[in-house]
Amino acid sequence: MSYVAIADRDHEQEHHDPQTFITKYIWSQDHKVIAVQYGITAVFVGLIALGLSAMMRLQLGFPDQFSFINPENYYQFITMHGMIMVIYLLTALFLGGFGNYLIPLQCGSRDMVFPFLNMLSYWVYLLSVIILLISFFVPGGSTGAGWTLYPPQAIMQGTPGNDWGILLMLASLAVFIVAFTMGGLNYVTTVLQARCQGMTLMRMPLSVWGIFIATILGLLAFPALLVSAIMMLFDKTLMTSFFMPAISSMGADPGYTGGSPILFQHLFWFFGHPEVYIVALPAFGIVSDLLSTHARKNIFGYRMMVWAIVAIGGLSFIVWAHHMYVSGMNPYFGFFFATTTLIIAVPTAIKVYNWVLTLWEGNIHLRVPMLFAIGFIFTFIHGGLTGLFLGNVTIDLPLSDTYFVVAHFHMVMGVSPVLVVFGAIYHWWPKITGKMYNETLGKWHFWMTFLGTYAIYLPMHYLGFAGVPRRYFAMGNTEFLPDSAQDLNAAITISALFVALTQILFFVNMIWSLWKGPKSDPNPWDATTLEWQTPDHPPKHGNWGHELPVVHRWAYDYSVPGYEEDFIPQNVPADKAPAGRDHGEDH
C-alpha cells in the first residue's frame, strides 16, 4: 500500500523537477534553494546595515572628524540600520532562510506544500529589498525618521527623507509583509499537513516549534504594521489626518487636523513587540537543538520548552505598551503592562534554566556551533535581565531614550539572535553545502565576536546610567556628562569596528570551504533529526529519494542507556533500538 502511495508522489514530483540552471537555481521552487536565496539576500542587506552602524559609531566615537557624516545622513544611517537588521535581515533569515530549509527536512516532507507560492515569496521579498535600497538614491535620500517611523516627524519637513524616502520605506514594508504572508502560509500549512508518518507535533524538533510559533506571531502581528503603513501613506499623500495632529510646520499650516500620533505608536508596537519574539523564538528553538546535539544529551524538559514557546508567543501580544511608558499613558495602563512584561519573564526564564540544565553533566563538545549556542545563553541572560529593569515603569522613565535601552535591545535581540544565526550556519553548513569549514578559524570568529560584542555593549549600560541620550548626533557641551563618557564612546567605536572586521573571518572561512573545503560526513555531528538522515548528501530535490522517512521517536534520543552509540536517529524503529534491556542482554 505505502509503496504505491510513495510511487505516486514521486510521479507527481517529476513534474516540477528542475531541468535547467535557471529553474534549478534562479526560478527554483525547491525549498532548499529558496532558503539559500533568502539567506544570501538577507546577509547581503545585513552587511549594508553593518556598514551603516560603523558610520554611526565613527561619528559617536570621534565627533566631527569625518566630513561625510552630517546630522541628516546620521539619522538616515540610524533608521536604515535598525529597520534592515530587524525586518530584512533577522525576520527574513530566520523564517525565510532557516524556516524554509528546516521545516520540510526536519518534518520529513519533500517540500513546502505550495512550492510556487514559496518561490513567489522570495521574489516579492527581493522586490521589497530593492525598493528599500532604491530609497538610498532618491532625492533627499532614505528616511531618517528612526526605525519606529513615529509621526508627525516621519513625514514632516525637516526630517531627512521626508519626501521620497519615507514613501519608499512604507511601500517596501507593505511589499515585505505580502512576501512574508505568502511564506508564512506555507510554513504553517507545511508543519500542520506535510509531516511524515510518526512525526507527531510533540516529536518535532524545537527548531520547528520555534519557527512555527514565530510564523503564527508574524501572520497575526504584521497586519498591524501594514495598517499603520497604509494609514501613514494616506496621511502623507492624501493629507488625511489619521495620525497627524493639527500642527504648524516651518511657520506654515500643512492642513492636518486633530490626528493622533499615539494611535500610530499603539499600532506600531502592537506589531513591534511580537516582532521581538518573531526573531527570538526561532533562535530559542534552534539553540535548543544545537545545545542538545553538541552536549549529547536530551533537551531538558521538552514539553515545558514547547509550552514556553507557545506561552511567550501568546503573552507577546499583551505587552506592547511597555515601549510607550513615556507617552503619557494612564498609570493603571502602565501597571498592567509592567505586570504582563514581568510575567513573560517566567516562561523565558524556564527556557534559560532548561538550556543550562541540558548542559549539566552533558558530554559537551565545544565545537563551533556549540560555542555560539553557549555564547547565546550568556548574551541572552544579560540582555534579558536589563529587560526586567526597563519593564518597570519607574525605572524605565529615567532610562528611556538613553544608551541603556540601546545596550539592552542590542544584547537581547541583536547579538543574541545573531550568535544563533552563526551557530546555525556553522551547524547546518555541512548539510547545505556538503563541505566542512575550518574549525580553528570558526573558533577565532566566535571568540572575537563574543568578547567584542561585550566590549561594545557593556559600557553602553554605563553611558545610559550617566544619562547619555540615544539618537543624538553629538553631545555638545552637556554639563552633566563627564569627559570620560566621550573616552568610553571612542572605546566602543573601536570595539565595534573590530567586531565588524572580524566578520571577514566568517566569510573567508565559508568561501574557502565552498572552494577547497573537505567533503563532510553526511551526519558529522551524529545528530538525530531527520535532515541528517537524507539518502543524498546534500539532499537532492524531493529530499528523500523513493521513500519518505517514518519517525518512531522524538528528536532527542542522545546517550540512551544500553545503546552502543550515543544517538538514535528519529527514523530508527522502536524495536531495533535502544532495545533497552534486550539489547543489553545481547552483549
Partner: protein
Amino acid sequence: MEIGLITLAVILATLLGWLLKQSFNTQPWIAEQVSATAHHGPLGGSSNTRLIALMTLMAVVTSFFALILSAYALRMELGDWVPMTEPQLLWTNTVMLIFASLALQWTRNGAVKGQASRLKPGLIATGVLTAGFIIGQLIAWQQLQAGGQLITNNPSNAFFYFLTGAHAVHIIGGMYVWARATARVMLGTAEGGTIRRSIELCTIYWHFLLLVWLILFGLLLST
C-alpha cells in the same frame, strides 16, 4: 485596541485549544513502532491542505480588519470626529453581496451533489453579483465625492474610504480564484473533484468576506 485584542484572543485561544488536544498527556520521549501505512494524523489530502491554508489566510485578514477597527474606535474618541452619512446605495450593494454568497453556496451544493448543470450558471451569477458589488462601491465613492465628502474632510470619511477600499481589494483577490475556477469549468480543463474543491474554498472565502462586510457596514452605520 480592545477589538484587536479580543479578536486575537479568540484566534489564539482556538490555536491553544487545538495544541492542548494534540500535546496533552503525551510522553514524547517514549519511542513507539509506527507502521509506514498507518494513518497517523498528518498527510491529509490536498483539499485539506488548501483548507488549512485558507483558514490561516482568513485569520490574517481577520487580524488586519480587527486592527483597523481598533484604530477606528481609538480615533473616534478624539474631538474632531464628525460622523459621516453613508450613501443609501450601500444597502443595494450589501444585498448584491448577500446574493453573490447565496449563488455560490447554491453552486457548491450542486458541485457536491454532482449536479454539473449548476456550475456554469451558478459561477456566472456569483461573478456578476460580486462585480456588481464592486462597481456599486465605486459608484458610492463617486456619489460621495460629488457631494463634497472627500477623504480629507474628516477622519470618519478617511476611515470609510480605507475600510471599503481594503474590503474591495480582498474581494478582488477572491475574484482571481473565482476566475480560475470558472475558466476551468468553461473550458472543461479540470476534473470534477478539483473544481468541486476549488468552489468549496471560494464559498468559504465569500461567506467570510460577506461577514466582514456586514460587520463593517453595521459599524459604519452605527457611528
